[in-house]
Symmetry: C2
């Protein structure tokens, strides 16, 4: 799939077909995450691939009952638990280097961005689930103390074709030169 | 460009040709960031596009003197300052919703991941610069208090073709079912 097509047309998928994901595709999706850039190439990301229904159900229980991500986790054949090793991104010799602290959230998103685009190009849907009881889900997965769970990402064949949610126009999110200077006037007519 | 080719071959570029970036390409790169997903679609990202040499020099001065990102910022014709509106991603009605606090770093990385891939597909190079004096750089750009500067991203035509830094093998970053269970044995021979 062409890159710009993937960037524009990837959607959040909340309804999945009852159809397993072949291991070859799962591997391609994980490979896409693996080659993401990261702080000083520390590659803080770790993934737990969950396919057994009992663990998926236990993880779905950590979401608020009214959250549509819950049905997505129950319905998708694969759940990727995306974690990061703490105090590596943004650190040098064990010491934090910026006022933004741990950059693991940043690096995890770089990997998950690549992962979700790759899934889309292979005909698979995904969903970013960030609102759930992280402590309970970490216990279900048996995570060690130095590993931070960030997102639960259900993945499978889509059973819906959602519309694109609206995006702010460029003029609202881009400034030129300094904050407050409009961007649009610099684009040639 | 094909998606997987872009994911595999994008590199961090630290040396740039003395050649301006056409506004049409700049706009395509910003469009790629604009269509990224974000927490409840809040789209916290804001960009300041800096092209004038004086401001680029002032921003380069906020990096440690031995950081190769400094030369990249001085050499690239465009600098994108990537910022996020605080307390929107991961928040609901002004209240934080997860133990991970503000998700702006996560959402900024989703947008910057799309932006850097798009740049690569258009023949442009970029670099993630996260190590600099954020407070001083924010003052140079005139950022308001509710806007967090995250990265400085130089962009231009590459004047180098770096090798790919090594990545950890999948067996080191992926577990199956629970933390500690190997992933590799589940992949068919």
């Amino acid at each position: 799939m062409e890159l710009f097509e993937a960037l524009r047309n990837r959607r959040s998928i909340r309804k999945y077909a009852d159809r397993p994901v072949p291991d070859e595709l799962l591997e391609q999706v994980l490979e896409a995450a693996r080659c993401a850039p990261s702080w000083a190439n520390v590659q803080p990301w770790r993934f737990v691939v969950v396919t057994d229904p009992e663990t998926r159900r236990a993880l779905a229980e950590t979401l608020p009952s009214n959250n549509p991500g819950k049905g997505a986790i129950l319905g998708a054949p694969v759940l990727l638990a995306a974690c990061g090793v703490k105090q590596t991104s943004g650190y040098y010799k064990g010491k934090v280097t910026t006022t933004l602290g741990d950059w693991l959230m940043f690096d995890l998103a770089l990997a998950l961005g690549q992962l979700t685009l790759a899934a889309h190009a292979l005909g698979l849907g995904t969903l970013h689930v960030g609102l759930y009881d992280i402590e309970r889900a970490s216990a279900v997965l048996g995570l060690p103390a130095d590993v931070q769970l960030v997102e639960l990402v259900p993945m499978g064949y889509p059973d819906q074709t959602p519309n694109s949610p609206p995006r702010k126009p460029l003029a609202e999110i881009v400034h030129r030169g300094k904050w407050g200077s409009p961007y649009s006037k610099t684009i040639p007519a």
